[in-house]
Structures are given as C-alpha cells and as structure tokens.
Symmetry: C2
Subunit: 135 residues, 2 copies
C-alpha cells in the first residue's frame, strides 16, 4: 500500500479550493485532516515547490495557480511523492544466476506499463472531480 500523502494533499487542496478567501491557517486544515499543523505546512511546501499553489510566508491562506478542473491528481501525486517507481525491486540479485542476472531489467520493463496505466488514471481525474464527489 502506498502512503497517505496523496490523500492528505487532496484533502488540503479541497479545503483551499472550497474557501479561496477564507484565510485558512495550517492549524485549521490540520484540525480537519486530524494531524499536526507542521505536517500540513510541509505538504503545502511541496505543493508550492511544484507550482500548484502560492502562499506568502507569515500570511494565512494559499491560492491555487490553476482551476480545479485543470489540476490533475497526477500533478498532485508527482508533487508529493519522492520515489517515482510504483513497485520496489529487491536489490543485488545474484548475477551468477541466469534469472538473478536479468530479473531487474525484466521487472522494470514489466512494471513500466502497469505504472503508466495507473498514472493515466490519475491524469484523468482532476481536483474538480473530487470537489464534485464531496458536495
């Protein structure tokens, strides 16, 4: 199972999109997500770095740089996920075994399509879709 960062990021962005002029503090978002404000600020930092939203230091509130309809879940996913690969592959398989020697390249190839399929689905869903489900 993949960590809950995508879920938290979507939650944060849903709040920001819903209350665009609400002076939403990290404290407030944290109380909705049920976590620590620093966790929220950290994640907002990643979203900012990815150009998904803007915020001024010291000032509550943040703004999306795009319309929710134009912000895909893939954009969000890539902004907050450190590792790019979907499945981990064990390292240092035995190069003296014909299978161990080729397994990594083979799995990389096989996993490629699977990851692409997943990313296509993420790309096909936007924050707007989430907001519509929410209300």
């Amino acid at each position: 199972m993949i960590n809950s960062r995508l879920s938290v990021a979507i939650h944060i962005l849903s709040i920001i999109a819903t209350y665009p002029h609400g002076d939403i503090t990290s404290e407030l978002i944290a109380s909705s997500v049920n976590t620590n404000p620093v966790v929220i600020r950290r994640m907002i930092g990643l979203l900012k770095k990815a150009g998904i939203l803007t915020a001024k230091a010291g000032v509550p509130g943040a703004s999306l740089t795009k319309e929710p309809a134009d912000l895909s879940l893939l954009d969000i996913y890539k902004a907050i996920q450190s590792k790019d690969e979907l499945f981990a592959i064990h390292d240092n398989p035995n190069p003296n075994c014909p299978i161990g020697k080729e397994i990594q390249a083979t799995l990389n190839k096989i996993y490629e399509n699977i990851q692409t399929a997943m990313e296509n689905e993420l790309a096909n869903k936007s924050l707007k879709d989430v907001l519509e489900h929410l209300f």
Copy 2:
C-alpha cells in the same frame, strides 16, 4: 512505493518454472534473490496457501499448479499482498468539517478506478510474459 514482495515472488516463481525438476531448495533460491532462505520459505508458504504452487514439507522443490501462461501477475499480487487498497487514506478526519466528513468516502470512490486500472494491467500479464522477457 509498494514493497518488493511482488518482485521477489515473481523471481521465485520464475526459478521454479524454469527448473521444474531441479530439486530447488529455499537456500538456492535465496542465493539468487539475495536474501535469507526463511524469507523465501515464507513467501512460498503464501503462494501455496493461494493455490499457486504445491510443495511437500521436508522435500526440496515445488511445482506450479498452472501453466505460466495461465498464472497472472494479479494472482501473484493478491497471494502475497496483505492490504487490498492501493492508496492509504488518513484516518479520523474531522467529522465537524464538511470536507473532513466526506473525504474518506470520496477518496475511496476516486481510488477505486485507479486501483482497478492497475489490477487490470496485472491481470493482463502472466508469468509466461516474464519468462519470455528473461530469456
């Protein structure tokens, strides 16, 4: 990123499929995967429980119950993965917030399609495909 169990399981099954009468020990497989024999036996236990292979206690070697072409990566994935969900969702979001109240149901709904897309891809690939890539 998802753990490396699928990768290890595919590695194990590739060896068993390639050397069907080789008296392959967990020790031998472990040396190819580069891990501890117990890790291999544990995983073989899960694959047995899922009906993917048979083995007798005390006797080296195991046999696939299906042709590699009929064994999908989804079968393998389901055999060895404990959690069914692809993405984790943070728990206890605030029910007093209109967004916190609905976020879990919404995310579950949204993630459903994404997971299905991924599982379809896994279902479309078989151990035979892996073996063909390997050699």
